[in-house]
C-alpha cells in the first residue's frame, strides 16, 4: 500500500514514513495542503492520506474542505494531529476524514486505524 504523508514537520514525516516502511508500506510526502493538492492532481493512486492539521499555506482542515467541495480524491484520509478536542474530531469527520489519530501515537495505532478502514473497504 502507498501512503501520502501531508505534514510540514520533517521530523514527524520521517518518523511516520519509517513506521510505514516497517509495516511494509511505501510513502510520499507533501509539506502542506497546497502541496498535497498538486501531488494528488499528478497522482491519485494513494491508498491512504495521513493529514496533519496545523500547516502553513493550506491547513489540514482547509484541505479537507477543499476536497469536500472539489472532489479531488476519494482516497481515505486519516487526520494525524495534536488537535485532540472532540469538536476537532467531529469537524474533520464531517468534512470527509475517515479516521483520526491523536498525537502522540504509536505504530500499533496506525496499524489499528488502517486495519479498521481496510475492514470497512471489504464490507463496502
Amino acid at each position: 500500500m502507498k501512503f501520502l504523508i501531508v505534514d510540514d514537520s520533517n521530523a514527524i514525516a520521517l518518523m511516520v514514513s519509517e513506521m510505514l516502511k516497517e509495516m511494509g508500506y511505501t510513502s510520499d510526502r507533501a509539506v502542506d495542503g497546497n502541496d498535497a493538492v498538486k501531488k494528488l492532481e499528478a497522482d491519485n493512486s494513494f491508498d491512504f492520506i495521513l493529514l496533519d492539521w496545523n500547516m502553513p499555506n493550506m491547513s489540514g482542515i482547509e484541505f479537507l474542505k477543499y476536497n469536500y467541495e472539489n472532489h479531488l480524491t476519494e482516497t481515505p484520509i486519516i487526520m494525524m494531529t495534536t488537535e485532540n478536542k472532540p469538536e476537532n474530531i467531529r469537524e474533520a469527520l464531517m468534512f470527509g476524514a475517515s479516521e483520526y489519530i491523536m498525537k502522540p501515537f504509536t505504530k500499533d495505532i496506525i496499524e489499528s486505524k488502517i486495519s479498521m478502514l481496510n475492514q470497512f473497504k471489504k464490507v463496502a
Binding site: N84, K85, P86, I89, R90, L93, A97, E99, Y100, I101, M102, F105, T106, D108, I109, S112, K113, M116, Q119
Partner: protein, 280 residues
C-alpha cells in the same frame, strides 16, 4: 544491576502465583518472574530478593497477594478485539435472545480494563438503534484489582481509545476530561459495575448466563485447571447459551461437550443448541 534469586525463592513465588491464579511457571520459565520480583521489591521497599521472600513468608497480607496477582495477570486488551465476535453478539445473538426471552444475562468473565464490555454496549446501540440496554444484564469480573479500578473509572488514555475504537464512536460515546483522558458517558455506563472474581477459586452462578465471554484466559492454565474452569463455565451457561473464547482457544484437553457454531463468521460454543438451530 544483576540480582541473584535463589531457587527456593523462585519455587515459592511460582507456587504462590499458581495457587492464586492457576498461571503455571515451569522451572525453565523462572526468568519470567525476575521482573515481577524486582517490581515487588520496589513496591515493598526491600533491598534484596531474600528480604522480599522473608516478608512474604512472615508477614503476608491481602495487600501483598493483590499486588502479586496484578503483576502476574496480563491486562492487554483493546476495543472491538477481533471484531467479528462483537458483530455476531450485537447484531444477532443478543437481539435474538432478547426477542425470545425478554432479557439476556451476559458475563464478561475476564473483563480486564473494560474494553470488551464497552464494545458490546456500543455495538448494541450502533447495530440496533433505540436498543434498550436494561434488557442486557451484564456481569463483568476480573481477578486484577488494578484492572478493575481502571474499568470502574470508565476512563481511558488517548492511546487506549485509539486502539480498535473508530473516531466516530469515540466522540459519540466518550467525554473528554480536562486532563485529556476520555471517559465513557455515564448515560451508557450507569448500569455497569466491574467486580472481583477468581475463575480458579470462586464459585459461578449455576445455569444463569445466556452468553459468557471468557477470552484468552484458559490458554494460561494447565490441563487440570482448564477442565475445572470449563466445567464451572459449562454449569453456569443456560440451555442454548453461548460461550465465546479467544480465537486460539478450544475445548481440547477437557471432557466438556459444547457444540461449535459459527455466527456471522465468529466461532462460539453452544450448550444444547436445539432452539438455536430451529431459529437459524
Amino acid at each position: 544491576m544483576s540480582m541473584e534469586i535463589k531457587k527456593e525463592i523462585y519455587d515459592f513465588f511460582a507456587k504462590f502465583v499458581y495457587d492464586k491464579t492457576g498461571i503455571f511457571y515451569p522451572e525453565k520459565d523462572y526468568y519470567r518472574l525476575d521482573s515481577r520480583i524486582t517490581t515487588l521489591m520496589g513496591h515493598f521497599q526491600c533491598e534484596t530478593p531474600d528480604e522480599l521472600f522473608n516478608l512474604y513468608v512472615t508477614k503476608r497480607n491481602k495487600d501483598m497477594e493483590v499486588v502479586l496477582i496484578d503483576l502476574c495477570t496480563n491486562n492487554e486488551t483493546y476495543f472491538f478485539r477481533d471484531n467479528k465476535p462483537f458483530d455476531a453478539l450485537t447484531k444477532t445473538i443478543i437481539p435474538q435472545k432478547v426477542a425470545q426471552n425478554g432479557y439476556v444475562n451476559l458475563w464478561s468473565a475476564a473483563s480486564s480494563t473494560g474494553q470488551e464490555v464497552l464494545s458490546i454496549v456500543m455495538g448494541l446501540l450502533e447495530n440496533n438503534p433505540g436498543f434498550d440496554l436494561s434488557k442486557v444484564k451484564i456481569t463483568a469480573t476480573d481477578i486484577s484489582q488494578r484492572a478493575l479500578k481502571k474499568a470502574n473509572s470508565f476512563t481511558y488514555s488517548s492511546l487506549d481509545v485509539q486502539r480498535g475504537l473508530p473516531a466516530m464512536l469515540l466522540v459519540k460515546y466518550f467525554d473528554q476530561l480536562p486532563d485529556g483522558q476520555w471517559q465513557f458517558k455515564s448515560e451508557f455506563s450507569k448500569h455497569l459495575r466491574y467486580e472481583t472474581l477468581n475463575l480458579l477459586t470462586d464459585n459461578f452462578k449455576p445455569n444463569f448466563y445466556d452468553v459468557i465471554c471468557c477470552r484468552n484466559v484458559l490458554i494460561y492454565q494447565n490441563k487440570e485447571n482448564k477442565q475445572m474452569i470449563m466445567q464451572k463455565l459449562f454449569d453456569s451457561i443456560r440451555s442454548d447459551g453461548f460461550l465465546l473464547m479467544g480465537s486460539g482457544e478450544s475445548l481440547i484437553g477437557t471432557d466438556i461437550t459444547l457444540t461449535q457454531s459459527s455466527v456471522d463468521g465468529a466461532m462460539f460454543f453452544v450448550k444444547e443448541n436445539q432452539t438455536w438451530k430451529k431459529a437459524a
